[in-house]
């Protein structure tokens, strides 16, 4: 427990968490605004098609909370790699020489932070949705679905932050880890999903969408998706497997 407290102090005594929280809030709000005001209704005044009257579309707008997941992944990655970047890993391992314990403490800490950011992202998208829809005709906002989305985003962000920590432990170079994760999420996984259609749902992004209970509103829509519980297991599996791999390889390396 003391180690988790130490990890919390590490992240709260620097600026990274603040910036990524701001990014999460801004991105969630922006996505809602785009989804509400860039609908066919808004683009073509004469159109009798109004997506806002479709309950599924309203659900999609609330689901924009999940769109900031990439910041959560980056938060986890930075949580681990900044220790190597600033060589604070030396004092971390001096206090806790049994290194996998550090990884576990970070996993727990960042999962909690991820959950908190999931809550913040949901509150943002929910509030902005309600405000943006005030002046519009729209399908009702279903409270049950809203709660489902809240649960999904909190759980998904919690696990995703843990994935980030494990990725950071595996790829100790901060820039390489972040660029690698972005390239994977935005390019490799999207391409794989397009060309090998059964594989997408098993990849980290696909599992993330299963936990978020949404097909990604920014793309990859319509791809088939795992049941939520399976998604949780698969996503958690990535975090644990990357963590174990790191414990057997990079985490063991000499600190020089």
């Amino acid at each position: 427990m003391s180690m988790v407290r130490s990890e919390f102090r590490k992240v709260t005594t620097t600026k990274v968490l603040l910036w990524l929280t701001i990014a999460t809030i801004a991105f969630s709000a922006l996505n809602v605004v785009l989804l509400v005001f860039l609908t066919p209704r808004a683009m073509d005044i004469d159109s009798d098609l109004n997506l806002l009257l479709d309950p599924a579309y309203v659900t999609n707008i609330l689901g924009a909370a999940g769109s900031s997941s990439i910041f959560i992944l980056i938060l986890g990655i930075i949580g681990m790699t900044s220790e190597y970047r600033h060589m604070t890993i030396t004092s971390t391992f001096l206090v806790t020489p049994k290194r996998p314990r550090v990884l576990i403490a970070k996993g727990i800490t960042y999962a909690l932070l991820g959950a908190a950011l999931g809550l913040i992202a949901f509150i943002t998208s929910f509030a902005v949705t309600l405000i943006a829809l005030m002046t519009e005709d729209h399908a009702p906002v279903d409270a049950i679905i809203a709660l489902q989305i809240l649960g999904g985003v909190v759980l998904a962000f919690a696990i995703y932050a843990f994935v980030g920590v494990s990725v950071g432990a595996l790829i100790r170079n901060q820039v390489a880890a972040i660029v690698g994760a972005l390239v994977w999420v935005l390019i490799v996984e999207a391409l794989l999903t397009v060309f090998v259609d059964w594989i997408g749902k098993w990849l980290p992004g696909g599992a993330l969408n299963a936990v978020l209970q949404t097909t990604n509103v920014t793309g990859r829509g319509g791809a088939d998706i795992l049941p939520t519980a399976t998604g949780v297991v698969v996503l958690l599996g990535y975090a644990v497997i990357f963590g174990i791999l790191a414990s057997l390889t990079t985490l063991r390396r000499d600190i020089t």
Partner: protein
């Protein structure tokens, strides 16, 4: 009551990085209650040895242990060993107090320890400032503060005098002395012997990853030469007298210039007395001390010059 010092033992330690042997079959022990200087030129394997002792580097073979245990097996390492390794191990955006509280938290120590050790190293004023703006000397003090949070019985300090002003070095000296007198183990590395000469009781000298000399400073001084510079217009007369004296052994006379001699093996007073007896006029009689630095360079420069950088 102060925490117990532990014996540090390095046994047949070898560490290879690829094909390069940073440390080769190195063995020595460091005793509590004394300040031990761990000396060698840059690149001689000091830091690697210390990192092996601290569980940061895995030895290729051999062991480096604290009180008979591997560092990684210590249940509460911060309370046993305090170490400073490099001044750069700080997050620049974190304050000095924040840096220390991260450590007190992880080591399950009371938060108040952070401010206590800041006061101990004279950084109280800078407690709330970000480390990014710290001078090298302030970083050294902060690193020392971090080493002290668990009030450990063993202190392992890598080049602690780097970046300290003369006042800071004097302070460090008396601080380490006091710790050793409390019975703690104090190991201080340096690449300059003269820097720690006044501080250490024991010395361990390594070169190219191998042990060159281990023992008390007196033993080393005995191996060295106490030198006295003598200037006289009657150089030959004095030199003859000195060489006559040399019959008793251990006296060495070197002619530096037609009017200057370097004498070793005799005290300045003895030379002065001899000169008076011979009625030799002296213009200078200066003990230049034990030339430990020259001895150190000689000890560590064996074999191919240059060595590992």
């Amino acid at each position: 009551m102060s925490p117990r010092g532990e014996v540090l033992t390095v046994t047949s330690l070898t560490k290879r990085f690829g094909k390069v042997s940073a440390v080769l079959d190195l063995s020595f022990a460091v005793q509590p209650g004394r300040v031990t200087g761990f000396l060698g030129p840059n690149g001689s394997g000091k830091t690697t040895t210390l990192r092996c002792l601290l569980g940061l580097v895995q030895p290729t073979s051999g062991t480096a242990q604290v009180g008979g245990h591997d560092y990684r097996e210590l249940p509460h390492p911060a309370a046993v060993v305090g170490a400073t390794l490099e001044a750069s191990g700080f997050h620049p955006g974190r304050t000095a107090r924040g840096h220390l509280r991260v450590i007190t938290d992880a080591a399950a120590l009371p938060q108040a320890r952070a401010d206590e050790v800041l006061e101990l190293v004279g950084l109280t004023e800078a407690a709330g400032r970000k480390v990014g703006g710290f001078s090298l000397g302030m970083r050294q003090r902060l690193a020392l503060a971090a080493a002290l949070v668990g009030d450990p019985g063993v202190l392992i300090l890598d080049e602690p005098a780097n970046g300290l002003d003369p006042e800071g070095i004097a302070w460090l000296r008396s601080f380490l002395r006091a710790r050793a007198e409390e019975g703690r183990t104090v190991l201080v590395s340096s690449h300059v012997l003269s820097e720690v000469q006044q501080t250490v009781d024991d010395v361990i000298i390594i070169s190219k990853g191998r042990l060159v000399q281990a023992g008390s400073l007196e033993e080393l001084t005995g191996a060295g030469l106490t030198q006295v510079r003598v200037r006289t217009p009657q150089l030959e007369v004095l030199r003859a007298a000195l060489l006559a004296e040399a019959g008793s052994g251990g006296v060495h006379v070197e002619v530096v210039s037609p009017v200057e001699l370097m004498v070793s093996g005799l005290e300045a007073a003895e030379i002065g007395h001899l000169a008076l007896r011979q009625q030799v006029e002296l213009h200078e009689l200066t003990p230049v001390g034990t030339d430990l630095e020259a001895l150190f360079l000689e000890l560590t420069a064996d074999g191919n010059p240059g060595g590992a950088a």
